[in-house]
Symmetry: C2
Subunit: 346 residues, 2 copies
């Protein structure tokens, strides 16, 4: 054991005295940095470290009867986890700190998403609330959580009752509409669409935005195709789609993997993405960045912040729910929609 | 508030009485399922839910003076987070539950990895220990954590003092050696190597395995090239490398992104990956799966389990450290090393 540790446990008053500030200032310096001047915080934290002061989060939790934590399930079953799962968890982790709590991930090899993992977290009292992802029609979690009186907020609509105000989602239709506006303004002629097979709620909305976009902008509607989220199938669907298009046209896609299929199919027939054919993806995933594909990036920081606002309201027992939020993605323009690539620049 | 909630807070004794078991059995059913028969556990958990019993984790924590949690930093700064960061966090989350604790991720937009985030987690007493990732020569974290007496274990060698037993890592040299053995056995003739620029500890070890492999197996050593972890640069380096190779040869790569560069460069000259040129990557990332590239998958579950064994020893105050572990990756064979692809199979 290091010799510098004091024999008696250091208290918050020891720190306050040594730093020449109030007990509340010490507490704020540790837990609510935004309430303290930076130089004061720095002085207090130096004393905290010198005296080896460790506030007892357990005692604090017991006082408030709160775990101070929000649970979220990681998908341990999918072969290919969602490309945005990690950036979203990172956004949640940063938001949590601003809302004086922390995230506790959990996972199960059994099934995803099912209730047992949520029940275990509640029984062990590790969290006060949950953030849901991968919502879908027939999802049992919202009803179970409401029945049990456990606060939650959802990334993705609550499909069985979208009037519930407990969610934030990306506006898929607005996104693909923006993509059409962008390729129209860039000078592409006819705009086709590669989506997922009809019937997926997310995919259908993204298709709707494309259909609306070609009506509103000065471009012709090209052919439509669909494929599941797999590169070989996207590639096959893209080959058929490109047969109905010509150099100077564009394809708006419902995902980055579908856009990669169009990208590879274009290269296979000697068309340069961007110069010969416009291609847009959706999600802002590493796949799009790796292959320089223009994409619609989800506003994950804003979504995380809105979900914590929803949770704060529920935890405070506020009777008026916060409004659900439909947030517009950002268009990240890359080589795949540059019709006249400049030579000689890196 | 739901009417079914009892007015008095339900205690563990209420549950034990209603389920006809001992208090310890109730505690085990919730916290240590492996110690209880499945039918007993199921009976106890039914009573737990019926009586709305919530064990107080805060009281338990205060008794043990432990947070029961392990912190790990998420990289909120990198444009392209590591492909295996999410699968590794999922593996840690599953291991944590087996070791009666949970993970608490933290992140900072300021810098990665620096000490301030770790100091904040310790000051707020949210965790008892840390799991480090992205270790590198000159990493300040191991020395600071040891000085402060905080248990930790590292995914990746502690480069400044690898004799420390606080780490588990993948055996990169053994991996690329396996890749050479595999392409040699598959019938490829000459085996080249595409690595990262010399000087990165991880990359140098992966190159060493290739060099050793071509000595031990019945193949000729082909040319070597290098590129940073970026697709355009990997593509350029791969074009040069392929100029020195012929149909029937193979390239072992230090990463999946580098392997994708070889894959794209091969397609550009009309060579079919697998049938005309063998290609292996490293890391088992989504990029490799997406493009059907043979890869070396890191044994993340075993690494997570070893790290928790290290932490358990430190938390128990055991004087003998657990041995560091160098774990061999798994070769996942895919189309890119199938020299005679079978026709007509899916």
């Amino acid at each position: 054991m290091p010799k510098t540790h004091p024999a008696r446990r250091t208290t918050i008053m020891d720190v306050a005295r040594a730093a020449g500030v109030s007990r509340q200032t010490v507490s704020n310096a540790i837990n609510s940095p935004e309430r303290v001047r930076p130089d004061t915080r720095s002085k207090v934290l130096q004393v905290v470290d010198k005296l080896h002061y460790r506030p007892s989060s357990a005692a604090r939790t017991l006082r408030h009867q709160r775990a101070g934590a929000v649970g979220t399930e990681l998908n341990a079953v999918a072969d290919q986890p969602s490309d945005i799962a990690l950036p979203f968890l990172t956004a949640l982790t940063l938001s949590a700190a601003r809302h004086a709590c922390h995230m506790v991930p959990f996972a199960s090899k059994e099934a995803f998403p099912l209730l047992s993992g949520y029940q275990d977290m509640v029984r062990r009292r590790l969290v006060d609330a949950f953030i849901l992802t991968d919502t879908h029609p027939g999802d049992p979690r919202p009803a179970w959580l409401e029945e049990a009186g456990i606060p939650y907020a959802s990334f993705g609509r609550i499909y069985d009752d979208p009037t519930r105000g407990y969610w934030a989602d990306v506006d898929g239709a607005a996104g693909t509409q923006m993509a059409v506006a962008h390729v129209a303004a860039s000078g592409y002629q006819t705009v086709g669409f590669l989506g997922w097979p009809a019937g997926s709620a997310v995919g259908d909305l993204r298709r709707e935005g494309w259909a609306q976009g070609v009506k509103e902008h000065d471009v012709a509607a090209g052919p439509e195709g669909s494929a599941p989220q797999s590169l070989p199938e996207a590639l096959r669907a893209a080959e058929d789609l490109l047969d109905g298009l010509a150099v100077g046209d564009a394809v708006v896609c419902a995902s980055d993997v579908l856009a990669l299929g169009v990208h590879q199919a274009a290269l296979a027939r000697g068309w340069t993405p961007g110069a010969d054919i416009g291609i847009t993806g959706f999600d802002g995933s590493p796949v799009a960045h790796l292959h320089s594909i223009t994409t619609l990036t989800q506003p994950l920081d804003d979504i995380a912040e809105h979900l914590f606002t929803i949770l704060d309201h529920q935890l405070a027992g506020s009777p008026e729910p916060v409004q659900a939020a439909l947030l517009v993605p950002t268009l990240d323009v890359n080589t795949s929609t540059k019709i006249t690539p400049k030579k000689g620049t890196s």
